[in-house]
C-alpha cells in the first residue's frame, strides 16, 4: 500500500513545470516525453579527433561550446550530450519542439573560427574590396592567406584590411579562440561604460604578449566567422595573460561580445552522423493511436481474465492497474524519458503481469483440485510458483539490461520501461495479488474447479 501511495504521489505531485498536452499524458505532467512523442529534433555528430589528442578534453570542450551557442541563440531547452558507442565518441543535440532545424544546424555545424588579427586599414565600401597582392603563410602546417578584408559585424559597409598572421618573433603565429580561456562582461571599474575581460592560457599569454608589444597604439581585430566582432586599440604590452576591452556602451553589447568570444572555436570538425526530426503533429497522432490500441487491448484482456477466472480474474485486473500506476509513478520519480518504443514496453508489461497471474492461478486451481481449502491452496500455490516466476522474469530482465547497454536513443526507452515493468510485475504478482487473494479467499468457489478433477485425472497420472 505504501509503495502504491508513493507511486501515486509521483504521478500527481506537480514536481516539474512540464506541460504535456498529448493524449493521456495531459494527466501525467511529471513524465518526460521523448522527442519522438512530443516532436523535436535530434542531431548526432561524429568528431574528427586527431590521433594522440586527449579525446575526453576535446569532447567536453565541444559540448561546452555547443551549449553556449545554443543558449545564446535561445535554444535553452536543448540537451547536449556525449554518446559513446563502441569506443567512438559523438555528440548529440536534442532540441524539443522544433522541426525546422536549419538555424540549429548552422549554429552547430559552423566550426566558428575565432582569431585575432592586426588591423592595417579601415575602409568604407558598399562592395567587398579586393586584396591586390597576397601571399600564403604556413602556420602549424596550415596555409593561410596573409591579408584579407573582413567586414564589421554591425556595419556591413565597414571593411577592415587585416593581416591574418602575426609575424613577430621566431616564426609566424596565430592567436585563436583556443588560446582564450574565458571572456566576461563587467562594469568598467575606472570609468563609464562596460568592459569585456579576456583570459588567455599559457600559450596564448606568450603569443598575446608578443603581439601587443609590437602593436601599441594599433588596432587588433577579433574576428569570428569572417566578421569583426570588435577591434580594440592596444594601449600597453599585455604580459599577465589578461586583457580588458573597454569603451563598450551597453551591458548587452558587452555580454554579447563575451559570449561570442567564449563560444568561438570548436576544436574539431563535426560531421553529421544522423538526424531525426519529427513534427509535433505527427508525433501526437502516432502516440494517440498507439495509446488507444493499448487501452483497447487492456480492456479486452481484463474482460478475458474475468470470464476465465471469475473473482481471481478481477484481482488480476487490480494487479494490472496497480502495476501500470507503479510503472508510471517510477517513471515520474526518476525522470526517465518516455519514448514511443517505451510505450510499447509498457503495453508489454501488461502481458507480463497477466502472465504471472495466470501462472499463479493455474497453480492454485491444481491445489484446490487436490482438495485443499482455498486459503491453504493459495498459500501453497504462491510458494510453489515463486521459482517459476523468478526464473521466467529474470531472463526477460537480463535481455532488457543487454538492450539498455547496447543501444542508445529511443530503443533505450523500451529497455527502461521493460525492466521497471517486469520487476514491478514480479512485486505486484507475488505481494499485492497474494495479499488481496488471501484476504478474500472466501470468494473463491472451489466447487468450480473440483468438477474438473474428473476430466483431468487421466492427465495427472
Amino acid at each position: 500500500m505504501a509503495v502504491f501511495i508513493f507511486a501515486l504521489l509521483g504521478i500527481v505531485l506537480p514536481l516539474s513545470e512540464n506541460k504535456n498536452n498529448i493524449s493521456v499524458f495531459k494527466y501525467l505532467p511529471n513524465i518526460k516525453l521523448g522527442l519522438d512523442i512530443q516532436g523535436g529534433s535530434s542531431l548526432e555528430y561524429s568528431m574528427v579527433i586527431p590521433e594522440g589528442a586527449r579525446a575526453e578534453e576535446i569532447v567536453n570542450n565541444v559540448i561546452a561550446v555547443l551549449r553556449r551557442r545554443l543558449d545564446s541563440a535561445g535554444y535553452t531547452e536543448a540537451v547536449v550530450s556525449e554518446v559513446v558507442v563502441g569506443g567512438e565518441r559523438r555528440v548529440r543535440v536534442e532540441i524539443p519542439g522544433i522541426s525546422d532545424t536549419r538555424r540549429a544546424e548552422e549554429l552547430i555545424g559552423s566550426k566558428g573560427k575565432l582569431y585575432f588579427a592586426e588591423v592595417l586599414e579601415v575602409v568604407e565600401s558598399t562592395t567587398p574590396p579586393q586584396i591586390t597582392r597576397n601571399r600564403k603563410v604556413k602556420v602549424n602546417g596550415e596555409e593561410i592567406d596573409l591579408y584579407s578584408y573582413v567586414k564589421d559585424s554591425r556595419n556591413p559597409n565597414l571593411w577592415y584590411r587585416v593581416k591574418n598572421v602575426f609575424e613577430f618573433g621566431d616564426s609566424p603565429f596565430q592567436i585563436t579562440g583556443l588560446d582564450v580561456t574565458d571572456a566576461r562582461a563587467s562594469l568598467n571599474p575606472q570609468g563609464a561604460g562596460f568592459v569585456v575581460n579576456l583570459s588567455f592560457n599559457n600559450q596564448g599569454k606568450t603569443k598575446f604578449e608578443l603581439a601587443t608589444a609590437n602593436l601599441i597604439g594599433r588596432q587588433i581585430a577579433i574576428i569570428l566567422d569572417d566578421e569583426v566582432i570588435i577591434a580594440p586599440v592596444v594601449r600597453d604590452k599585455i604580459t599577465e595573460g589578461r586583457a580588458e576591452i573597454s569603451g563598450i556602451e551597453t551591458v548587452q553589447e558587452a555580454q554579447n561580445i563575451a559570449v561570442l568570444i567564449k563560444s568561438g572555436n570548436l576544436p574539431v570538425d563535426l560531421v553529421k552522423f544522423q538526424e531525426s526530426t519529427i513534427g509535433p503533429t505527427l508525433g501526437k497522432d502516432v502516440v494517440t493511436t498507439i495509446v488507444n490500441a493499448g487501452i483497447i487491448g487492456l480492456v479486452v484482456v481484463m474482460i478475458y481474465m474475468i470470464i476465465f477466472y471469475g473473482w481471481m480474474g478481477f484481482v488480476a485486473d487490480i494487479a494490472l492497474m496497480y502495476n501500470t500506476l507503479l510503472l508510471l509513478g517510477i517513471l515520474s520519480w526518476t525522470g526517465a524519458i518516455l519514448t514511443l518504443p517505451g510505450i510499447a514496453g509498457i503495453i508489454l508489461t501488461f502481458g507480463t503481469t497477466i502472465d504471472g497471474n495466470i501462472i499463479i492461478y493455474e497453480r492454485i486451481k491444481e491445489e484446490i483440485r487436490v482438495g485443499k481449502p482455498p486459503l491453504t491452496a493459495i498459500k501453497f500455490g504462491f510458494n510453489k510458483v515463486f521459482p517459476t516466476i523468478l526464473d521466467a522474469n529474470i531472463t526477460t530482465v537480463l535481455a532488457g539490461i543487454v538492450l539498455y547497454f547496447l543501444t542508445s536513443g529511443t530503443i533505450r526507452g523500451f529497455a527502461v520501461t521493460l525492466i521497471i515493468g517486469v520487476l514491478g510485475a514480479m512485486f505486484t504478482n507475488l505481494v499485492v495479488t497474494r495479499v488481496i487473494l488471501e484476504g478474500s479467499s472466501n470468494l473463491i468457489k472451489p466447487e468450480k474447479y473440483l468438477k474438473g478433477i474428473v476430466v483431468g485425472k487421466g492427465g495427472n497420472e
Binding site: K272, L282, D285, Y304, F350, D355, T388, D391, I411
Partner: protein, 308 residues
C-alpha cells in the same frame, strides 16, 4: 487437464519446424529484407501538403531532381487523426544530407517540381552510411550477447542441456519470424530489433515455465522415464501457456491493426512472435531436451559419477 501425447509425436513437430526453417531461410535469401534507413543508410522524409498527388507524380518530381531518385520508396500515409486534412507521403531515398543547406535545396526543389504551395516536412530521419553500419553490427551484438547471458543463467538455474534446448527454440523463433518479415515485406529497423528482443524474452519466458515444471516433476519422482515426465509437465502448463498467449496476442494484434505504420515493424514481430514462440515452447524446446538428457545419462552411468 488436457492429456495430449506431445512427446510421442515429437518427430513430427521437429520435422515440421525444420521444413519451416528451411522455407524461411530460402525466402530470406531470395526476397531479402525491406531495410529501413536505420540499416541501409539514407533519408526518410515525411512530407505533408494540401494537394493530393499520385505516387507517380512524386516519383517524377524526384526524378527531376536527380535521376537516381527514381528508385526511391514512396508511400502515401494518412495519419488517423480526425482533424488532419493534409496528405502525407513518406519518401525514402538512398542519399543522406550532410548539411542543412543540401536538405533545404532538396525540399525546395521537390516543392517546386510538385508545384505545391504548402509543402511541409513532418518528419526527417537521416542516417549516414556509417551510422547504418554501426547499428547493424550492434543489432548483432545485442542478439549474441543476450543469447550468451541467457545460456549462462539457464545453465545455473537448470542444466546445460536445458540451456541448449532453450537457445535452439529461440533460434527457431527468430529465424521463422525473420522469414515472415521478409515474406510480408515488413520494414526492418530498430523497432523491429526491439521486437525481436522482446520475442526472445517472451518465448524464453514460456520455455522456462515448462522447464520449471519438468524440474519440479523430476525431483518428485526420479524413477519415471524422462519422456513421461516431460509429456505430463507440458500438459500441466498447457492451459497457462494458451491463456498467456491469447492475452498477449490480443494486445499485440490490436497494436498491429490500429497502431499504423510507425509501430507496425514492432507490432508485427510481436504478433508473429507470440504464435511462433508459444508453438516452440510447447512442441520444440522440451522434446529436444529429451535426447540430450538421455545421452547425458548414459554418459554419467558409464562414468558412474555426479548426476546433476
Amino acid at each position: 487437464m488436457p492429456n495430449l501425447n506431445i512427446v510421442g509425436k515429437r518427430k513430427v513437430f521437429i520435422y515440421l519446424s525444420l521444413a519451416l526453417i528451411i522455407f524461411c531461410v530460402i525466402v530470406i535469401f531470395v526476397k531479402g529484407f525491406n531495410f529501413g534507413v536505420d540499416f541501409s543508410g539514407g533519408s526518410e522524409i515525411v512530407i505533408s501538403c494540401q494537394e493530393a498527388y499520385s505516387i507517380d507524380q512524386i516519383r517524377n518530381a524526384l526524378q527531376q531532381i536527380d535521376p537516381s531518385y527514381a528508385t526511391a520508396k514512396i508511400v502515401s500515409a494518412k495519419p488517423s487523426g480526425e482533424n488532419i486534412t493534409k496528405n502525407f507521403y513518406v519518401i525514402t531515398i538512398k542519399d543522406s544530407f550532410p548539411t542543412s543547406q543540401k536538405k533545404d535545396e532538396f525540399i525546395a526543389a521537390l516543392a517546386a517540381n510538385l508545384q505545391s504551395v504548402d509543402l511541409g516536412v513532418e518528419q526527417f530521419n537521416d542516417v549516414s552510411g556509417y551510422a547504418a553500419k554501426e547499428i547493424k553490427s550492434y543489432a548483432w551484438y545485442a542478439i549474441i550477447i543476450t543469447l550468451v547471458v541467457l545460456l549462462i543463467y539457464i545453465t545455473i538455474r537448470f542444466q546445460f542441456s536445458y540451456a541448449i534446448g532453450a537457445i535452439l527454440a529461440l533460434a527457431h523463433d527468430v529465424i521463422i519470424t525473420l522469414g515472415l518479415y521478409s515474406l510480408f515485406g515488413i520494414e526492418m529497423n530498430l523497432m523491429a530489433v526491439a521486437a525481436f528482443l522482446t520475442l526472445v524474452g517472451y518465448s524464453l519466458n514460456d520455455t522456462i515455465v515448462v522447464y520449471d515444471r519438468i524440474r519440479e516433476n523430476r525431483a518428485k519422482s526420479k524413477s519415471t522415464p524422462i519422456e513421461e515426465i516431460i509429456n505430463s509437465s507440458i500438459n500441466e502448463v498447457l492451459v497457462r501457456c494458451l491463456h498467456t498467449s491469447v492475452t498477449t496476442f490480443i494486445v499485440a494484434f490490436l497494436m498491429l491493426i490500429i497502431g499504423g505504420r510507425a509501430i507496425a515493424p514492432f507490432a508485427f514481430g510481436l504478433t508473429m512472435g507470440v504464435v511462433v514462440g508459444t508453438y516452440s515452447s510447447i512442441f520444440i524446446a522440451s522434446p529436444i531436451v529429451i535426447s540430450m538428457v538421455k545421452n547425458k545419462k548414459k554418459g554419467t552411468k558409464k562414468a558412474s559419477s555426479k548426476a546433476r
